[in-house]
């Protein structure tokens, strides 16, 4: 009896003490509400894949971010509650590695005290960075992490500090499925996906769930593969009506080239990772016929969008090539952070988070963007059609 009383007392004491400790914690945290903006600059950290497997895409994004920053700064900077503040970029390479990405995020939020982070390009690296960003209450806006779970916690609640500027896979894969079934009237489809990225596997999965026809065969390749002849020869034998190939232009370009060379001329439908001028260069203009891909950044649609026209011209003037989708998404990400700061009239990282969550009808290069309750970007989607290497049409899918 006595023993248990003592036990109870110590138990209470322990609870009381830990409560006091936690109370201390919360008071400490409420005084340091994220990273405040200091001096004459708004610091934006860039956690990006500048080398390693996704280095090519990361560098395109870096170009987009730098272009947007230069434009904003040449106009005086971001309007923070009436005062113009210049953007200072702190660009760090996460080497397409999850551990490096986590440490880059820690450096950016703790040492550099950035107000917001743009990045990463890939879902894997981006997910690894979330704990450090959440702890420091700094928002991270990924231009291209497409996995549906990227912005969600394990229990299905939204990650409070994580946003994306692109579609999530279920939406894009579903659009591809609808387009192939309704518009192309293809009933027998083979799926050929990139299994080295969450992007490719996620889209392949979403497509297979939502396609109404028959998925005859599903095959995978990994990033950096160059030879697809064997898979395509096997496909040719299965009498398919179309191929759904979610992945990036560097491999899909080769798939198109090799499919046409072995005489497999069925439509090849892909996703926004294909929307790059390099696709046609790798595939060869003659081979790039009967090619479709879902994209937010349709060049024909973009011609009616003054923001996009301005971006495409500026990009061409600076880098002498057609603007890739990744640069466009990163460019939009930078402007979305600017918009969030100006709406909230503060560049404190928690305020930017709030501003990003409330972005509505933001007029970006990749269309009118609204951030929904799951921190996904919703924007119109189009399917572009390539013939002889040229974009000959685009269909809006509802």
């Amino acid at each position: 009896m006595k023993k248990s009383t003592i036990k109870r007392i110590t138990g209470f004491a322990a609870i009381a003490m830990s409560a006091a400790i936690f109370a201390g914690c919360t008071t400490a945290k409420t005084t340091t509400q994220g990273n405040d903006q200091t001096g004459n600059t708004v610091k934006i950290g860039v956690n990006m894949e500048l080398s390693g497997a996704a280095g090519g895409y990361g560098n395109q994004m870096k170009q987009g971010i730098q272009m947007a920053t230069k434009e904003i700064n040449s106009k005086g900077g971001v309007n923070v509650n009436g005062k113009k503040k210049k953007i200072k970029l702190i660009i760090k390479d996460d080497k397409t590695s999850t551990s490096t990405s986590a440490s880059v995020a820690a450096q950016l939020v703790n040492n550099d005290k950035v107000n917001a982070i743009i990045g990463t390009a890939t879902t894997n690296a981006g997910t690894a960075a979330i704990p450090n960003e959440t702890k420091a209450k700094v928002p991270a806006l990924s231009p291209s992490a497409t996995d549906p779970n990227f912005t969600l916690q394990k229990d299905g609640k939204v990650q409070p500090y994580v946003f994306r500027a692109c579609y999530q896979n279920n939406f894009q894969g579903g659009t591809g499925a609808k387009f192939i079934y309704n518009n192309l009237k293809a009933k027998r489809v083979a799926v050929l996906g990139d299994n080295s990225t969450d992007y490719g596997t996620g889209l392949a999965k979403a497509f297979k769930q939502q396609f109404k026809g028959k998925v005859v065969d599903t095959q995978y390749f990994s990033g950096g593969d160059k030879d697809f002849n064997a898979i395509l020869t096997a496909f040719k034998n299965k009498k398919i009506d179309a191929i759904y190939a979610p992945g990036y232009y560097s491999e899909i370009g080769l798939i198109i080239k090799q499919a046409r060379q072995i005489g497999l001329n069925v439509p090849i439908v892909g996703s926004d990772g294909m929307a790059d001028a390099k696709l046609v260069q790798i595939a060869g203009a003659k081979n790039a016929s009967n090619i479709y891909y879902t994209t937010p950044f349709s060049k024909t649609v973009a011609k009616q969008n003054p923001v996009a026209v301005k971006f495409m011209n500026a990009y061409k003037a600076r880098y002498h090539t057609e603007a890739p989708t990744f640069s466009a998404l990163a460019y939009d990400s930078t402007y979305m952070i600017k918009q969030a700061i100006e709406n909230e009239k503060s560049a404190n990282s928690v305020k930017i988070t709030k501003g990003l969550a409330n972005i509505k009808d933001f007029n970006g290069v990749t269309g009118k963007i609204t951030i929904d309750s799951k921190h996904d970007a919703t924007k119109p989607i189009a399917v572009e059609h390539l013939n002889n290497g040229k974009v000959v049409g685009s269909t809006q899918i509802k």
């Binding site: 095959q219 160059k226 002849n229 072995i262 790798i282």
Partner: protein, 292 residues
């Protein structure tokens, strides 16, 4: 049946690339017992050399191929001189780690200088498809197969019929004894590196032309697979490396054609494990007992 032949053609063209790369591994291993992991990156250098000379100096294909072989031979010799020669008498593992370091240096150096993005290789030879009883073969596939076979025969002649070849074989059997009979070991090893690297350079230009896509990391996976090919054929044996290359190419094609494409790399490495367990000296390798 047509599909089977088509897959055979696919496998042979893939295999000839692995074979060309495996030759470099096997020769270098044969002579200084070093697995030169930077070999795949020499192949990448060859592809980039072809890209620049064709695009900016307007070389034709033959000239681009030959000049890439010369440039890669030179870079192989330079790498040997600066990275491996100082470690000639160091433990084998030191040289192996250095080789991995050189490989990273070349990959990331090229990414830094020229960007990590994929580039399209200039199509100097227009692709023509021939159809034979329903099997499609392109002129470039024939070219790759022919060039690979030609280079392998040439290599075999150099090793078996020339004085330098005899020196190479002597050094590989016993370097000390070779030196005693008046063979310049350093020169012979440099020559081996030059020869192996020139094969990789040729493979680089051929693959650039065939797939029309090059990037600084392109040497990584083929390099490792070529290493597997060299082990399968019996590391140190030149005909073994050629055979191993074709076998690995055919195996990869077969795995993909039966619908297991996701496991094609795994299958190659599985073969490596099996060979190392069952036949550690490879198909053509000699089982030499080491005297203690």
């Amino acid at each position: 049946m047509t599909t089977l032949f088509q897959q055979l053609i696919n496998g042979l063209s893939l295999g000839s690339i692995y074979a060309l790369l495996a030759l470099g591994y096997t020769m270098v291993y044969g002579i200084i017992k070093l697995i030169n992991f930077a070999h795949g990156d020499i192949y990448m250098l060859g592809a980039f050399w072809g890209y620049y000379t064709i695009n900016y100096w307007h070389f034709n294909f033959i000239f681009a191929l030959l000049s890439a072989m010369v440039v890669c031979a030179a870079s192989g010799v330079i790498i040997e001189y600066f990275a491996y020669r100082p470690l000639r008498h160091a433990p084998r593992i030191t040289a192996l780690i250095t080789a991995i370091g050189v490989s990273y240096f070349l990959e990331n150096g090229m990414s830094y200088l020229y960007g990590a993005d994929t580039r399209d290789f200039p199509q100097v030879i227009k692709q023509v498809n021939y159809s034979l009883w329903g099997v499609r073969v392109s002129n470039i596939q024939i070219l790759i197969l022919a060039t690979a076979c030609l280079l392998m025969i040439l290599l075999q002649l150099i090793i078996k019929k020339t004085k330098m070849g005899r020196a190479m074989r002597a050094v590989s059997v016993d370097p000390d004894a070779a030196e005693l009979v008046g063979i310049n070991i350093n020169q012979t090893i440099s020559f081996t590196f030059a020869l192996g690297s020139s094969m990789a350079g040729a493979a680089g230009v051929l693959i650039g032309l065939y797939y029309n896509s090059i990037d600084p990391l392109m040497g990584m996976t083929p390099g490792i697979k070529a290493f597997v090919a060299a082990v399968v054929g019996g590391i140190g044996s030149v005909p073994g490396a050629s055979l191993g290359g074709f076998l690995i190419g055919l195996l990869e094609t077969a795995v993909q054609s039966v619908g297991l494409s996701a496991y094609k790399d795994a299958a190659v490495y599985l073969v490596l494990i099996i060979i190392l367990l069952v036949l550690p000296s490879g198909i053509f390798g000699k089982n030499v007992k080491e005297k203690v």
